[in-house]
């Protein structure tokens, strides 16, 4: 397992009700996202689309993580499913233009999963086999 941390720009796009709430709880505990992570709050995962993700990459992000509420927990019922499908479609588009699919990641979470979110961000690096190939 690689111990190299990737501190290149990362954009975290997430629902304010889950990821946003989790970040607020972390702040209460004196914890926060690393400085290379830019948080982009949306009112619901269902508002996340191709354009939002592509613009994140255009703005300089090397990696984008999309986070919606857990299945069945979306306040708008289908926001998580829409976020999942749109992230998958955008990953296909990225791969078609030569950007590795691993650079776009999708997760679901609850507001009490702040520690998991920090761990995901920390572990969001190139797959091991690609890292070995590049070495």
């Amino acid at each position: 397992m690689s111990d190299a941390r990737d501190t290149s720009p990362l954009v975290l796009i997430g629902c304010q009700r889950s990821a946003g709430a989790a970040l607020a709880r972390l702040a209460d505990e004196g914890r926060a996202l690393p400085s290379h992570v830019r948080w982009q709050s949306v009112p619901c995962g269902g508002t996340i689309d191709e354009l939002m993700i592509l613009e994140a990459f255009e703005s300089g992000a090397e990696r984008v993580m999309v986070v919606s509420c857990a299945a069945g927990a979306c306040n708008s019922v289908v926001g998580d499913e829409r976020a999942r499908r749109r992230t998958a479609a955008t990953r296909e588009l990225l791969e078609a233009i030569g950007i590795e699919g691993w650079r776009l990641r999708y997760e679901t979470m609850a507001p009490n999963m702040g520690a998991d979110l920090l761990r995901w961000v920390d572990a969001f690096v190139a797959p091991v086999e690609e890292s070995v190939g590049e070495a």
Binding site: E55, A96, I99
Partner: protein
């Protein structure tokens, strides 16, 4: 409306790699409704093209624009300066819009970004289905408002065929049998007797078999 979908990005890129500037021009009518070529889709494709250029180490100016109806020259007139300033115009309109731009600006290189599919309607969010082939001689009055030319996989005017099972077409289980739909509609509107009429072979000269078509209204032309 005209329904279209974006071409594979690799096919689009193949036409653009030599260009130093590309204007992506959408159309905010039919192809905006089918989420293929309106303002939003222009922004998405443009972002993808900028990222692709960056990824490949190319310098390429990508400019976004959209008109209300690319199939009418009046709506495209404001594009004159934009067209002159770019190597390639990438049209996100239907085939009609692409050709209108190409005719209107003869020296411009105009490429299509969409595949124009059919005339149809939205069934639900994200699903569009064909309703009209533009055969030039509408028969919807005879079939309860269901077009067997378009919706029957075999274009039968005297159906159904032997492949209709439980209201489903044998060609694809996702296709309802058009003749079941015709029957149900004629029953619903009390016109089932129309099916006693045997339809003669269709005159396809009003369709594409007669060559490119044109409608001229002598009472309107200048």
């Amino acid at each position: 409306m005209i329904v279209a979908e974006r071409k594979p990005i690799a096919e689009i890129l193949a036409n653009l790699r030599q260009a130093s500037s590309v204007a992506v021009v959408g159309c905010d009518t039919c192809v905006a409704v089918c989420m293929a070529g309106g303002t939003k889709e222009v922004a998405v494709l443009s972002a993808a093209l900028r990222l692709a250029a960056r990824q490949e180490g190319r310098e390429q100016l990508i400019t976004e624009a959209c008109v209300e109806r690319q199939c009418e020259v009046e709506f495209n007139e404001p594009l004159a300066e934009l067209v002159a300033e770019h190597d390639v115009i990438l049209s996100m309109a239907c085939g009609v819009g692409v050709q209108t731009l190409a005719e209107q600006y003869p020296s411009a290189v105009v490429y299509p970004a969409l595949n124009t599919k059919f005339m149809g309607r939205p069934e639900e969010l994200g699903t569009w289905s064909e309703r009209c082939l533009g055969c030039g001689n509408c028969v919807l009055d005879k079939f309860g408002g269901v077009c067997p030319i378009t919706r029957c996989s075999k274009n039968l005017l005297n159906g159904p065929c032997g492949g209709s099972q439980d209201g489903i077409c044998e060609v694809d289980p996702s296709i309802p049998c058009a003749w079941q739909l015709v029957y149900d509609r004629l029953v619903a509107i009390g016109q089932l007797e129309r099916l006693w009429q045997v339809e003669p072979p269709k005159d396809w000269t009003t369709s594409r078999d007669g060559g490119p078509r044109k409608v001229v209204r002598e009472d309107i032309v200048p």
